[in-house]
Every structure is written in C-alpha cells, then in structure tokens.
C-alpha cells in the first residue's frame, strides 16, 4: 500500500517522542509537493507543534534529494536560561533574527516560505492562494492583508483541494499548477473566523505576539496531502480583497489588469525572463479573471462556486 493511501502513519500517529528523536538526529523529511524539505530541530516544544499542523503528512524515508535543508536550533550561551530563543538555519546560514523558543513553528513556516520564494525558480512562482476543483486551479494572487489565506482556508473547508495558501506554482512545461502544500497561516481575527466557519477545522496552537500578531495554522486535509502531486490546469483567476462590512462583489476584470496582477505578484517574474512573460500571457489568456470583494466567507465561497460552475470548463477529468 502506498504511504499516501491511508492516514495511518501520519505525523500525528508517529508520536511526539519518536518525532523529537528523528528531528534531533537525521532530521525529518517532508514532501510538500513541489518541494522536499528536511528539518532538524533540538527545540523540545517543536515536535508537538509540528505534529498538530503536519498531522496528515507521512514522514518519508531518507530521500535521495531534498530541496531545502533547515535546522531550528536553540540559541546558546546565557540566552538558554534567560529568554530562550530558536534560530532558523539553512545551509549553515542564519537568515533571520531568532524567535522565542516556543515560536519554532511560525519561524519554520516563514523561513521555509522565504526559501521557497527565493529558490524555486524552475516554476513561475506567484504569491497566490491556489486551490483545485474538477482538475482545475483557482488562483488568487494578492498582497498580504487581502484575506487570501483566510479565503484559501475557507475554500479548503468547503470541498476545494488546497494546493497552497501562499504560492501559485505554475509549471510551464506541464501547463499546470503544482502544490506547495503547507499549513495555512491564519492571523489575528481570521483564526476565530475560520473556527466559526468550520468548527471541525484542524487548527494548531496559537502563537501570540509574533511580528504579525497572533498566528495559528490550519492543517491541510488528508485528501490534500495524499493528492499533493496531482497538478491542476489553469481554471479561474480571482483577485480577492477582504473589506469589513462589504457585500460580496464579484466582477470581471480586463485582461491587462489580470496580467499586471500576476506579473506583479510573481516572486520570480524577472528571473524567469521571457519564459515568465509567456507563462503569464498564457495564464491570462487561458483563465477568466474576476475581482472579489467580500466580508462574509459563506457568501463569498458560495458565489465563487457559482461563478466557477458558469465559467470553468468541466472536461472529463483533465488531470491523471
């Protein structure tokens, strides 16, 4: 049986003791779809945090290749006793200031996102929430603070398959989006918004007083984890914007606005050169584009689904 065929064996069943040992020794290998990640850690609280939000990921056996190697190591010296801290180290370099020791998970998430954004240049990497339905991708490029992650979380709890709340990874060779599957980072009010939206949502511990306020992470579903290597053809482009008290407004945007939204929100547009230009052109020409303003998640997700059924071709299962 494939390790992805059944949730048994996920991190939450490995147990924190065994996980802590693995993190402290050879490291834990996680397959996120586009990216393979190797994590080592000596911070004891980290294993519990990781178990909560990567619960459906099956730790892979020693892979032949990991794209990213990171370590979360406790700061040494007097810091160990006064205000314990944890450092994020990748390829022997510490790229960020240390975090409080009990904030290892948010440090991992931010650090890995940063590394992905800098290094994964074999795909056009958009700053976008991306979900799949009917074999096609709903792509939501947006700036921070637009409600992209909250909307991605809500859709993932209403039957859409999460590819990423942060990255739209378009593989021009395949003409399809690939998953960069990680927990959805919910911030401040959006944590309780999602708890009310779906009381059964698997949300990990809250970390208060981070640089972005309080942060908690929604675990990707088992289905999203088990299908993380299934790509999605371009489906629909939505430019989301959360606006307090706003009615749901879903209106078409002209292609030049869609183009600039994609190009501006691509981490590696300039790096990709002419290939990036052609990829963005292909996406804009291949996807209807809409602007969504919303405050009510139930209404927004329902309207998006309605528009999806009207706009997106339902081929006979376009993905293998």
């Amino acid at each position: 049986m494939s390790p992805d065929a059944h949730p048994a064996g996920g991190l939450h069943q490995l147990g924190t003791g065994a996980l802590r040992q693995r993190l402290a020794r050879g490291g834990l290998h996680l397959d996120l779809g586009l990216v393979r990640l190797r994590v080592r850690a000596d911070e004891p609280s980290f294993a519990d945090q990781l178990c909560e939000v990567y619960r459906h990921f099956t730790p892979t056996e020693e892979p032949t290749w990991s794209d990213l190697h990171v370590s979360l190591l406790r700061a040494t010296g007097v810091r160990r006793w006064l205000r314990p801290q944890v450092r994020f180290i990748s390829d022997s370099r510490m790229e960020f200031d240390p975090f409080p020791a009990d904030h290892a998970l948010p440090l991992l998430e931010w650090g890995v996102n940063w590394l992905i954004g800098r290094r994964m240049n074999d795909v056009l990497l958009l700053h976008a929430g991306t979900l799949e339905r009917d074999g096609r991708a709903l792509v939501m490029p947006a700036l921070p603070g637009s409600g992209k992650s909250t909307l991605s979380a809500a859709l993932s709890l209403r039957g859409w398959r999460l590819l990423s709340d942060e990255f739209g990874a378009f593989d021009p060779r395949a003409g399809a989006f690939r998953a960069v599957l990680k927990p959805v980072a919910l911030k401040n009010e959006s944590i309780d918004v999602i708890r009310r939206f779906e009381p059964g949502a698997e949300i990990g511990p809250s970390f208060i007083k981070t640089r972005k306020g309080t942060v908690a992470h929604l675990a990707p579903s088992f289905e999203a984890v088990s299908r993380r290597h299934v790509t999605a053809l371009p489906g629909m482009l939505v430019l989301p914007r959360w606006q307090a008290g706003s009615a749901t407004v879903l209106e078409p945007v002209p292609p030049q606005v869609a183009f600039t939204s994609l190009a501006f929100n691509a981490f590696n547009y300039a790096v990709q050169g002419a290939d990036g230009f052609r990829a963005v052109m292909a996406l804009v020409r291949g996807m209807p584009a809409w602007r969504l303003q919303y405050s009510d998640l139930e209404d927004a997700t329902a309207r998006l689904l309605e528009r999806w059924h009207e706009q997106v071709p339902l081929d006979s299962d376009p993905r293998p």
Binding site: P254, P255, F259, T260, A263, Y269, V271, G273, F277, M281
Partner: protein, 100 residues
Amino acid sequence: MIHSTGYVLVPDVLVEPLGDHWVAFSPSSGESHLINDTSAAIVEMLSCESALTLAQACTALAAEVGTLPADTEGLVHEALQTFVRAGLVRAVRLPRDTHP
C-alpha cells in the same frame, strides 16, 4: 562627421496584444510594460527597420494614421524616451549622411 540620434529596438523584445492594450517585455530589464496602440505601432515600425530617427518615425507613424508628421512629433518623442527608459529601445548615433 555629423551624427544624428537613431532608435533601435532591443533584440528579443516581445510584444503581444492583450485586450485593449499591448504588453511589451524587455529582456534587458526583465520587466513588462502595458502600452497602447500607438506605442505598439511605433515598436512595430522599429522592428521592421535597423534604426529610425525621430523624424523618420514621425513620418512613418503619420503615414499610418493619416496625419502630418509634425503633428506626431511630441507623441513619438515622448514614446521613444519612455521606451529607452523601459529598456525596449536603445538610442544610437547614426551618420548624418545616411539618415538625414
């Protein structure tokens, strides 16, 4: 020898129509620029010639749109300067005897 300023399209510039606009990609800057029909016409004229002076570009555009070259001069001059800053076009020195 007296020289005049000519304009050449940067090699491998890509221009594609998109809705009511055009998008031009500059390989030298890695950036893309939304341009209007007139600008796209100037880029196309440059792509057909090894180099054009401002006067030649004005004459060609005027013939295209049915107006006098003098009426297009301000617009073409501004467009060429913008293209140079955007990395789509390079200004070059041309011998005066070949480009009056």
